[in-house]
């Protein structure tokens, strides 16, 4: 939405206002500094200046990050996607079942030989896309709240993932498939998707419509945007990203398991919200979500680095999530 600012005072205020990601970046740096200091005190070594650790930090949130990129766009339209973790599992199962090496025991498609790697990848993406399309169509056609539509998908997709092999894991995936999850590949895929959708949201008509719908759905409709069609597109993209996440997760674990991605949707939503995406819609950027995901990854690494009691970790994590958002809200309020 482009607004014409006529009041010169407001113009100054607007110029002075920092992008919201900057404040969340400070939170990230703040947490990093805390771990750095504690690291020197308790472990006698640096937390940050270890390239291996920096890669791991991003690596362990790459899958959640992919989901978060999708849910960010959904939240901007004032929606929500609770199905991403389950859709991930379903895509992972379907992709893994087609990615097994030749001559291994197969829970499904018995007797199938090794397939070229693009088949399981496309299948995984397709499963995610279809789930997203169903989510979007349900919401657009029936007008039920996104919370309910995606909740239904969350339960259904998890059930399908279990039903597919009756709960059996699918292992011994081909080397060309597991290469997708090896080394820093998940990081590359995550960051690549982040760049693509950052550009899409900021510089294309797709992005403009997304923010317009989130800002004021009625106004968007009146100004000629096909809101229903656009919502279907947004949910389908989110579904496709969940599918991609399923491919990456199964390749990384070299196994497809129906319990994969359990409650990942909440971590993805947390990453987006920490990153400044407003649940009220219309506000948020991919850069913020990426930083939000990094905060989650840094906390996991930092806790293990310091050897914090496993029971305490979750408590601290919960508190930090809320504090980070309060800090961000406070900062943006003060600026207005």
């Amino acid at each position: 939405m482009s607004t014409v600012v006529t009041n010169p005072k407001a113009l100054v205020a607007k110029a002075r206002r920092l992008p919201p990601e900057l404040s969340i970046l400070f939170v990230l740096l703040g947490i990093a500094v805390i771990f750095e200091v504690l690291g020197w005190i308790f472990n006698g070594q640096s937390f940050l200046f270890n390239s291996q650790r920096l890669v791991i930090m991003i690596l362990q949130v790459s899958v959640i990050g992919l989901l978060a990129i999708g849910v960010t766009q959904v939240i901007i339209t004032t929606g929500i996607d609770l199905s991403s973790g389950s859709v991930l599992a379903l895509s992972a199962m379907v992709a893994a079942s087609l990615a097994q090496s030749a001559d291994v025991a197969r829970p499904v498609f018995e007797g199938l030989g090794g397939l070229p790697v693009f088949i399981p990848v496309v299948a995984g993406l397709l499963v995610g896309t279809v789930c997203g399309l169903i989510n979007g169509s349900l919401i657009a056609a029936t007008g039920i709240p996104p919370f309910i539509a995606t909740l239904g998908m969350m339960v259904t997709a998890r059930g399908l993932a279990q039903y597919y092999t009756h709960g059996k894991p699918i292992s011994q995936l081909s080397d060309s498939y597991t290469a997708i999850g090896a080394g820093a590949m998940p990081v590359m895929i995550f960051l690549m998707m982040a760049v693509v959708f950052h550009i899409a949201l900021r510089y294309t008509k797709y992005g403009k419509y997304t923010y317009a719908i989130g800002g004021n759905m009625t106004a968007a409709r009146v100004s000629g945007i096909d809101v229903k069609r656009h919502l279907i597109t947004v949910y389908t993209i989110a579904g496709a990203l969940s599918g991609l996440a399923g491919v990456v997760a199964s390749a990384r674990a070299a196994s497809g398991q129906s319990g994969m991605g359990l409650s990942y949707e909440l971590d993805a939503i947390a990453a987006a919200v920490i990153g400044g995406v407003s649940l009220a819609g219309g506000v948020g950027r991919i850069t913020g979500t990426v930083i939000g995901a990094l905060i989650l990854g840094m906390m996991t690494s930092g806790f293990t680095f310091l050897g914090i009691d496993a029971y305490i970790q979750q408590i601290v994590k919960g508190v930090i999530i809320v504090v980070a958002v309060i800090a961000d809200t406070y900062r943006s309020k003060r600026k207005i």
């Binding site: 270890n50 362990q60 709960g167 997760a249 996991t300 680095f305 496993a310």
Partner: protein, 306 residues
């Protein structure tokens, strides 16, 4: 309420006394359908039920105690002959036991031993959980020649298996003054989380000689992380529990040092066996135990087809 009880008692009596009259029905509630080991257990039960010609119905408790109780209530209303419960929380089974006793429905707990003292007529089929951690720990300690740094990878903290297995290995290591536990964290039974945790441990630069994992999935995650970091497989001993097919493949590759075989098939088969006996009014032992077995590179081949 009274009528329901009377009716179900009558049904139980009729069916129990005349097995030829109606097919024996068994209701099973599993703590989770997502767990690999429990899936093998479930399949063994289904196969044995088919072989014995009894009707069996499975419900997924989804790790939710409340959900499991309502599944038990449904089974009672349905008047199954025997209920098999794989409890989600071994400390919260009293409610289930009481409901079954009151309705006069025969009850078997499988795989996880309830902490309550089981009343007469309620049977446990499973293994002694305390043993698996001890077996794993003793083997690792021997391989380390009683000296070294050990990291413990724990399962989901709320589960009894995570607690008892961790306690088991810790008790063993406590006997060796030169074995030090340097890390102790959870990876929630999951392979991907085990991989993340191991990667994080490697970057701390601490010397680790052995990883004692509460299950095979996390152990495989640790092995994958070691491989990615370029650590030679003979540098760090990795031990798991469950002896899943994937773990045996790792052992064949020489990357897994030890695992403990918990006999899913044995437990599942004897659970159904016991259930049928109980339905026919035969007497059974109250504790039907299936022993754990140590799986090492020397004997792993024996377990490949189990």
């Amino acid at each position: 309420m009274n009528r329901t009880v009377a009716a179900s008692l009558l049904a139980a009596l009729v069916m129990g006394a005349n097995p030829a009259f109606a097919k024996t029905t068994i209701g099973v509630t599993m703590s989770s359908f997502d767990d690999n080991f429990l899936t093998y257990l479930r399949e063994a039960m289904a196969a044995e039920a088919k072989a014995k010609g009894v009707d069996i119905q499975f419900e997924d408790g989804q790790k939710d105690v409340v959900k499991q109780i309502s599944q038990v209530e449904n089974f009672i209303a349905q008047k199954v002959d025997v209920m098999i419960v794989n409890p989600i929380d071994s400390a919260a089974t009293r409610n289930i036991t009481e409901k079954a006793m009151k309705a006069g429905i025969k009850l078997i707990y499988v795989n996880r031993l309830p902490e309550e003292k089981l009343p007469e007529g309620v049977v446990y089929v499973g293994s002694d959980e305390n043993v698996s951690g001890t077996m794993q720990g003793e083997y690792l300690a021997k391989k380390l020649n009683g000296k070294g740094n050990v990291a413990i990878m724990m399962g989901e903290l709320s589960t009894e298996a995570a607690r008892t297995r961790t306690k088991g290995v810790k008790n063993v290591f406590a006997k060796y003054p030169d074995i030090k536990i340097v890390e102790e964290q959870t990876a929630n039974w999951q392979r991907a989380e085990g991989m993340n945790l191991m990667s994080n441990w490697i970057t701390t630069g601490k010397q680790i000689d052995a990883v004692a994992s509460n299950n095979d999935e996390m152990a495989i995650g640790a092995i994958m992380a070691l491989k990615q970091a370029g650590v030679a497989p003979d540098k760090i001993l990795v031990g798991g529990v469950d002896a899943t097919p994937d773990a045996l493949v790792e052992m064949k590759k020489g990357t897994m040092a030890v695992t403990v075989f918990q006999d899913a098939k044995g437990q599942g088969t004897s659970a159904i066996d016991t259930a049928v006996k109980m339905a026919n009014g035969e007497k059974t032992e109250q504790f039907v135990m299936t022993p754990f077995q140590l799986v090492t590179p020397e004997n792993y081949k024996d377990f490949m087809n189990k």
